[in-house]
């Protein structure tokens, strides 16, 4: 019982060892899922558009004439070297897609998470604290309706109201065309680029473009968070240590903030890790709605062009992100909750 707390480093090593099987399974799933499709990727994407001889050459170059198991091993080896292949339709290394379009997605999802966390946790805590009050019922309803709202519909309403009716905000792309053309980009994160160059007009333009997509995606995730945080607060407030703290004469504010809220947020961190799936799915829809040239937007484009290599590469990248986030979340958890480190 009185075992000393395991150090964070030991925990980290054990946790990382558990990642590998999960990673392997995800990659295997991705690989075989893509191979279930009839025909080979080259024919699917370019069939009918190039002479058979050239298709043959391309197939050979990409290794599609090798046995499946060899292709599988090659795939794992490529992923280990962070090589995700080259798209068939526009001959672009998937790594480039990830860096260029991925940074657009990163910019969008980061600000969406800021919105989601502040709205979701804030409202969830209030609702849980004031159970069954008018505020609680309205916040709950808000959470449910926002959750029920598809990203594209929320986006549609936002475009209609703030774009078309009020004309306050742009509804498409990451920046105005002329700004995008003139901005020398290094990080592919426009906001940071604009700051680096101290170009405030560009900065403003980028911020304005970011508002609607980030708010749309953020609100949808906030809907889930509200529900989660509220339930956790309710359960924590019933906790024995809450009553014990009250019995020691700790004032109600400290009881709520120091004891209830902190404990209520611990499980939220774990579930937040699972929300990355929702975040990515939401990002695909939000990007398509707002013509945001992110990785989800590109994925849909490649899907429509039947470019299996691009799809496989991007999906593989998503799998890596999923694994990365799950490990990250566990570390954060171990850091805030001493019990986890066993």
């Amino acid at each position: 019982m009185a075992k000393p707390t395991t150090s964070l480093r030991t925990y980290a090593l054990t946790r990382l060892a558990l990642v590998l099987p999960m990673l392997w399974i995800l990659l295997t799933l991705v690989f075989f899922m893509m191979r279930v499709a009839p025909g080979d990727p080259v024919t699917a994407a370019l069939g009918g558009r190039l002479p058979e001889k050239e298709l043959q050459e391309r197939r050979h170059a990409a290794g599609y004439d090798k046995p499946l198991i060899v292709q599988y091993v090659d795939y794992l080896g490529d992923v280990a070297r962070l090589n995700f292949g080259t798209t068939i339709t526009d001959d672009r290394p998937v790594t480039d897609v990830i860096i260029e379009n991925g940074s657009a997605t990163l910019e969008l999802t980061f600000w969406a998470m800021v919105v989601a966390l502040s709205v979701g946790i804030g409202l969830g805590l209030v609702a849980g604290r004031l159970r069954d009050s008018g505020a609680d019922v309205s916040i709950r309803m808000f959470g449910i309706v926002v959750y029920a709202m598809p990203a594209f519909f929320l986006g549609f309403l936002a475009q209609l109201l703030f774009g078309e009716r009020l004309g306050w905000l742009p509804t498409s792309g990451r920046a105005s065309p002329e700004v995008q053309f003139l901005l020398p980009t290094h990080t592919h994160l426009y906001l940071i680029d604009a700051i680096i160059y101290g170009d405030w007009a560009t900065f403003k333009d980028v911020v304005l473009h970011l508002i609607l997509p980030a708010a749309t995606l953020g609100l949808i995730i906030a809907g889930v968070l509200i529900r989660l945080v509220r339930v956790n607060v309710l359960q924590t407030m019933k906790g024995d240590y809450i009553e014990a703290a009250r019995a020691r004469g700790i004032d109600e504010k400290s009881v709520v903030y120091r004891h209830a809220f902190k404990n209520a947020l611990v499980p939220v961190v774990t579930v937040l890790g699972l929300q990355v799936a929702l975040l990515m799915s939401g990002a695909v829809l939000t990007e398509t709605t707002f013509n945001w040239p992110g990785i989800g937007f590109e994925l849909v484009r490649y899907l429509n062009n039947r470019d299996y290599i691009a799809v496989q590469g991007i999906i593989t990248f998503f799998a890596l992100i999923v694994i990365f986030v799950s490990v990250l979340i566990d570390f954060v958890n171990a850091w805030i909750d001493p019990r986890v480190r066993y």
Binding site: D240, A247, R248, E252, R339
Partner: protein
């Protein structure tokens, strides 16, 4: 407050909960007193309202419960003071020790933080060093070494956690400690340890202790006086030795007979179950289970009587004779016990 007046004087306290099936009369007119340096044992079967009594004194009742009567702590009526003032009194004046120690500490806070939070909540001007000194002193008194001060709750065993909880309750030197079944969740060896700690308390600090338990052995060992509670009322109260040697209330007597000891030859139990607190039996609440029940017991609620041996008791066996109607002393035809069981 007079010099040797009681620290706690509960007068005719009632605590009722509202439920969908009707009002639960958890505490229904209870009066008890505890003096400084005195240990009062509060015993009774589970569900007789003893925990509610403890919580009621602390003002820690769930929303929607109705309370009246008086809870005088050093002549201040706790039922009349503001929430803020009551909060200030919890800790330095009255402390509560809970039954299950495993879940009473915040899992995310170090032991140190529990102490500093508690101390600074009541004495915000204290220096950090002084807070630390006092905390370590209280922990040391419970046999927890200073090296464990920065540990988290999950790193302690149940017995150690209960000692931490006690240290946490005592660090502010409360004048009254309410211990609600402090050893029920612990094993026998730890139980003895905790009891001796509580006994030291009154010796060293003149603390008054309300010890809530269903274990008569603990009462015999640790208490000066004992109050026997039944269905929300005090059936009998008096000097522990007197009550144990000459129980005046049939319930006390039956309770004592049910205790298992080394020379027990057969098991004795009180037939039936504790009555419903929503719809308790009329008149004397014990009469359906009482082997000595008389007709009057089913007709009129008993009146508190003070006996020559010193205890007070609510039972018609002890009068007053002038209130018992004609023929009231005839034995009661007991209904089938199943009826009581149903209730």
């Amino acid at each position: 407050m007079s010099a040797n007046g009681p620290v706690l004087d509960v007068r005719d306290l009632r605590v009722w909960y509202g439920s969908t099936r009707g009002a639960v009369r958890a505490v229904d007119g209870v009066s008890i007193q505890i003096r400084a340096g005195e240990v009062l044992g509060l015993v009774g079967e589970s569900g007789c309202g003893k925990s509610t009594l403890g919580r009621g004194v602390m003002g820690l009742l769930p929303d929607g419960s109705a309370v009246d009567g008086q809870v005088l702590f050093q002549d201040t009526d706790l039922l009349k003071v503001s929430d803020r003032q009551l909060r200030r009194m919890r800790g330095p004046d009255i402390a509560l020790i809970f039954q299950e120690p495993m879940t009473r500490l915040n899992p995310l806070m170090r032991i140190e933080d529990h102490f500093s939070e508690t101390i600074t909540a009541h004495e915000p001007k204290l220096s950090k060093a002084e807070v630390r000194r006092r905390s370590l002193e209280a922990l040391g008194g419970m046999g927890i070494p200073p090296t464990r001060f920065r540990n988290y709750p999950h790193e302690f065993s149940g017995g150690m956690r209960q000692r931490i909880m006690i240290a946490l309750a005592l660090v502010l030197r409360p004048k009254l400690v309410i211990a609600d079944e402090p050893t029920t969740a612990l094993d026998v060896l730890v139980e003895a340890q905790i009891l001796s700690i509580l006994a030291d308390l009154k010796r060293n600090f003149d603390t008054a202790l309300l010890l809530i338990t269903h274990n008569l052995g603990i009462v015999a060992e640790a208490c000066d006086r004992v109050a026997v509670m039944y269905a929300g009322r005090i059936a009998e109260e008096g000097d522990a030795r007197t009550v144990f040697s000459q129980p005046a209330h049939p319930y006390t007597r039956e309770l004592l007979r049910s205790v298992i000891s080394l020379n027990t030859t057969g098991l004795h139990y009180i037939p039936g179950a504790p009555p419903s607190l929503i719809d308790p039996p009329a008149a004397c609440k014990f009469h359906p289970r009482c082997p000595d029940a008389m007709r009057v017991c089913a007709q009129l609620a008993p009146v508190e009587q003070r006996l020559s041996a010193g205890q007070r008791v609510e039972c018609w066996l002890h009068g007053p004779g002038d209130r018992i109607p004609e023929g009231g002393r005839e034995p009661l035809e007991q209904e089938r016990i199943a009826v009581a069981e149903e209730a």
